[in-house]
Amino acid sequence: MPPAYIPLLLFSLLVLAFPVVTLIVFKYLRPGSRGGPAKFQPYECGILPETSTRGRYFARFYIIAMLFMILNVETIFLFPWAVLFRGWLAAHLAAFALLPMFVFLGVLLVGYVWLYKKGALDLA
């Protein structure tokens, strides 16, 4: 483990402990709970829930999650390019710096335009 990350690891364990310990400690410090079964009904503005909530939800959310994942992969490939960009410019390689990324973004732009036209993005 590179030495710089060990304080970060300890920090994340400390941060995980903060809500967990508070939740557990105050569970016992709290006065007991009174009230009948109605209190534990899910709150839906007074209407008693008939159907279970595990109903089916539409595919549009799936398309958004899928597109997010594809664009996330694109962002990850952009980060190394952005880090080296100024180095290439200093070495007068502007064409080499810009061209690969134009091809990469262009291909994905084609997909984006197709989606835009096909209406997959109208998330009304």
Partner: protein, 99 residues
């Protein structure tokens, strides 16, 4: 840390993933086990890249992650289309090539 430890770890994850793919009847769990197998492969790649001092292994692992994303997108797309048509997600009820 000798490299044998990392090889044993990736072997263990690979086996767990393989068992998951074989025994589970629910296709989404099968897809998750495939992601686990891809992860085991990544561990091997990064371990050898670290011990041979050549960063190509990590670049290859990055491509594997990108590929896992594409595979998950299309795989789950097929499952959802199948579910909306046949209301089932169990592997042994998927016996139709064209629905």
């Amino acid at each position: 840390m000798p490299i044998g430890h990392y090889l044993f770890l990736s072997l263990a994850l690979f086996l767990i993933g393989a068992i998951g793919v074989i025994t589970r009847r629910n296709v989404i769990i099968v897809l998750m086990s495939i992601e686990l197998i891809l992860n085991a492969v990544n561990i091997n790649l990064v371990a050898f890249s670290r011990y041979f001092g050549d960063v190509a292994g990590q670049v290859f692992a990055l491509f594997i992650i990108a590929d896992a994303a594409a595979e998950a997108a299309v795989g789950l797309g097929i499952i959802i289309a199948f579910f909306r048509n046949r209301e089932t997600v169990l592997a042994d009820e998927m016996d139709l090539l064209k629905w």
